[in-house]
């Protein structure tokens, strides 16, 4: 088990390397630079800035320098957020994004799996149609519509929750962002669970369990639930990585200091180190979550071997 985990991490290194290299050179190929402002800087100032940040060196030297620093755990200074290193920005923003993303994953699993199993047990009933219809609404309406509408209804009209802001992490401030992040995931998870449960209910071992006269509750919990959350687990891998690395839409609309905003802002401002840092962090989370998914999968389905 431990050696498997170790091997998986070693196996991820070449992937990370390719991703870092590709995004480094893509970013540098884009026209413009971090110090190209609307009002051009004085050429000597520009030259000094470029020298301080090593932007005057040949591109390949910069690339090697970046890799070397990265290995030592140094993401470098941010070009746009002066006085902050990219590491500082992540240290401040990542906990926020992880709290919201983690909350959203938990909520989505709880509601999605429950709704999916419930709909499957009452297939073709009103409750089933209701779940399926709501799920199709949930997957159709994009987050950037849901977020402001939730903020409008619960924040402005009803006044139950703050319409935005982080409020130093007060629970009330987290509810709307978490719900917004969870809604599309709930829709997908409910659909997946419903499909897998319907299939599991028809399988031989469930029929046998019923024939033995086991109570319906224990048939569902011990014999079908395991099978019904397998597709959810494999779906959640990449989705969870996206959730904990923050959503630019949710963070913009609710005014949350997470790391989701960095990607768009830094790419547009040519904040090279911050872009690279974001790419690296996202890639690492994808690797971690894929590993967790595989471990969970092997635990839930003993037929799957880890090698």
């Amino acid at each position: 088990m431990l050696s498997y985990i170790l091997r998986r991490f070693l196996g991820a290194i070449p992937t990370l390397f390719v991703i870092i290299t590709a995004s480094f050179f893509m970013m540098r190929a884009a026209p413009g630079g971090p110090f190209n402002l609307d009002r051009p800087l004085d050429p000597t100032v520009m030259a000094n800035l470029n020298r301080v940040f090593h932007l005057d060196e040949p591109l390949f030297t910069q690339y090697l320098r970046y890799l070397r620093n990265l290995l030592a755990g140094d993401f470098g200074p941010s070009f746009i957020y002066r006085d902050f290193s990219v590491g500082d920005l992540f240290a401040n923003g990542l906990p926020v994004s992880i709290q919201l993303g983690g909350g959203a994953i938990a909520l989505a699993l709880l509601v999605g799996v429950t709704a999916g199993v419930y709909a499957a047990l009452r297939q073709n009933s009103f409750a089933d149609y209701f779940v399926v219809a709501t799920a199709s609404i949930g997957t159709t309406i994009p987050t950037f519509v849901v977020a402001p509408i939730l903020s409008l209804v619960f924040g402005v009209w009803l006044g139950w929750l703050p319409a935005g802001g982080w409020g130093d992490g007060a629970i009330a401030n987290k509810i709307l962002p978490i719900v917004t992040l969870a809604l599309p995931q709930i829709a997908v998870i409910a659909r997946l669970t419903r499909g897998a449960t319907i299939e599991a209910l028809r399988s031989d071992h469930v029929r046998t369990a019923r024939a033995y006269g086991l109570p319906a509750r224990s048939v569902v919990i011990t014999h079908t639930l395991r099978a019904s959350i397998l597709p959810v687990i494999s779906y959640l891998g990449p989705a969870a990585a996206a959730l904990v690395t923050g959503s630019v839409v949710v963070e913009t609309i609710f005014g949350i200091p997470g790391i989701g905003r960095f990607f768009v802002q830094s790419a547009l401002n040519r904040d090279y180190t911050l872009v690279m840092g974001t790419v690296v962090v996202i890639a690492i989370f994808v690797v971690i979550f894929n590993l967790i998914v595989d471990l969970l999968y092997a635990w839930l389905d003993p037929r799957v071997r880890l090698d």
Binding site: I19, A22, S23, M26, M27, A30, P31, G32, S136, I137, T140, I141, P142, F144, V145, A147, P148, I149, S151, L152, G155, V156, A163, V248, V249, T252, I253, F263, V264, A267, L268, V279, I282
Partner: protein
């Protein structure tokens, strides 16, 4: 499905139904799909012709009507006219005796210490609210007069935005832009994806390997990073927007078409064409691509809403369509910034976008059910 279909007329012997006729019949029986098609038709007609019909242009600024709420009543309100008249006549050095407004005409009785110049109506006309100012009655001593002016009445059925532009006109134009980008980008993705997939699948071997590895690499890059890089390279340009979006969306299409092609190229009619010495390009054009169209059509209807979401998302971030032109994403972004005071800026564009997306999705699902041969 066809087993229980006893009410449908049985085709005469020897007269077969084609795949498309079959699909069309099944589509018409799907109520959600038919309703969606109707909704979509109405939305498209409104988006194409609506901007010519509504009384305001989408970029005309009414500086007197910034952020007016949606209403069926005409603006200005009666209680807003009086202060405007007083403000307009303040510089005319007349005393206002009475003000009456009826049927879009304001009547003002004025008196003055000095003789009233008939040109006093110019002061009224200076305000954007009034036109056709006229002196109806001038007393013999020229110390009192009755002035009339037509009140410029505007209808803002969906309110106005923060710059005083009519929301109805803006939503119609935005829908037009969003739909146009959705359809054009899908067309771009279609051409690239179908050609790429068919070529990769048909030639197979090394060519296929290399071509599909390229697709895999593009797949594995973070999606948003890819989009932003395209925007960074192409700039915030409306025309290049949909090319960029289409250039991302072709990946799935290429995979689907490749899979279809792999199955098709082993079929007898392709081998027959090869035996007859038809050129590769000819086989692709005449035999392979037409036979992949079923799944491609299904995929296409589901791609249009995805492209619209993507475009709206980019516009929401300020990377897409630029002012004064607008798209549903731009309007929603603006609405989201103003929800505290001006809810209509968010509600109507959001409803429009949701309507379009629902209609497209249900139509796409209906088409898939109608065209999927496994369902028979």
């Amino acid at each position: 499905m066809s087993v229980s279909d006893t009410t449908a007329p049985v085709p005469a012997a020897g007269e077969g139904r084609s795949l498309w006729q079959d699909a069309w019949r099944r589509l018409r029986r799907n109520k959600a799909a038919v309703l969606s098609a109707l909704v979509l038709a109405v939305v498209i007609l409104a988006a194409v012709f609506g901007p010519y019909v509504v009384p305001h242009a989408y970029d005309t600024v009414y500086s007197n009507y910034v952020r007016t709420p949606a209403s069926l009543e005409p603006y200005p309100r009666a209680d807003a006219i009086e202060p405007e008249i007083r403000a307009a006549l303040r510089r005319a050095r007349v005393d206002i005796a009475s003000i009456a407004v009826a049927d879009g005409v304001a009547t003002v009785e004025v008196t003055s210490e000095r003789e009233i110049d008939p040109r006093v109506t110019r002061y009224l006309e200076r305000s954007d609210l009034f036109t056709n100012g006229a002196v109806q009655r001038l007393s013999d001593d020229r110390r009192s007069a009755t002035l009339t002016a037509d009140v410029q009445q505007f209808h803002f059925y969906l309110g106005t935005d923060g710059n005083g532009r009519d929301m109805l006109a803006r939503i119609l134009v935005a829908t037009r832009v969003s739909l146009a980008i959705g359809i054009l980008a899908t067309a771009v993705a279609l051409v690239i994806g179908v050609t790429y997939g068919a070529v990769a699948g048909y030639f197979g071997g090394k060519v296929d390997d290399v071509m599909m590895r390229i697709v895999d690499v593009l797949y594995s890059l973070p999606f948003i990073f890819f989009v932003i890089m395209l925007v960074v390279f192409f700039g915030r340009n409306f025309v290049l927007m949909f090319i960029a979006v289409g250039a991302i969306e072709w990946l799935d299409m290429a995979r689907i078409v490749r899979g279809q092609t792999l199955a098709l190229k082993r079929r007898e009619f392709v081998q027959a064409a090869e035996a007859l010495g038809v050129e590769n390009a000819g086989i692709l054009k005449r035999h392979i691509i037409p036979n992949t169209l079923g799944p491609v059509v299904i995929y296409m209807t589901l791609m249009v809403p995805r492209v619209i979401i993507l475009e709206s998302f980019l516009s929401f971030l300020g990377l897409g369509v630029q002012e004064p032109l607008t798209s549903l994403g731009v309007l929603i972004a603006e609405g989201a910034r103003n929800i505290e005071g001006a809810t209509w800026l968010l509600v109507y564009p959001a409803i429009t976008l949701a309507l379009v997306l629902f209609a497209l999705n249900f139509l796409g699902d209906g088409l898939r059910d109608a065209l999927d041969p496994k369902d028979r």
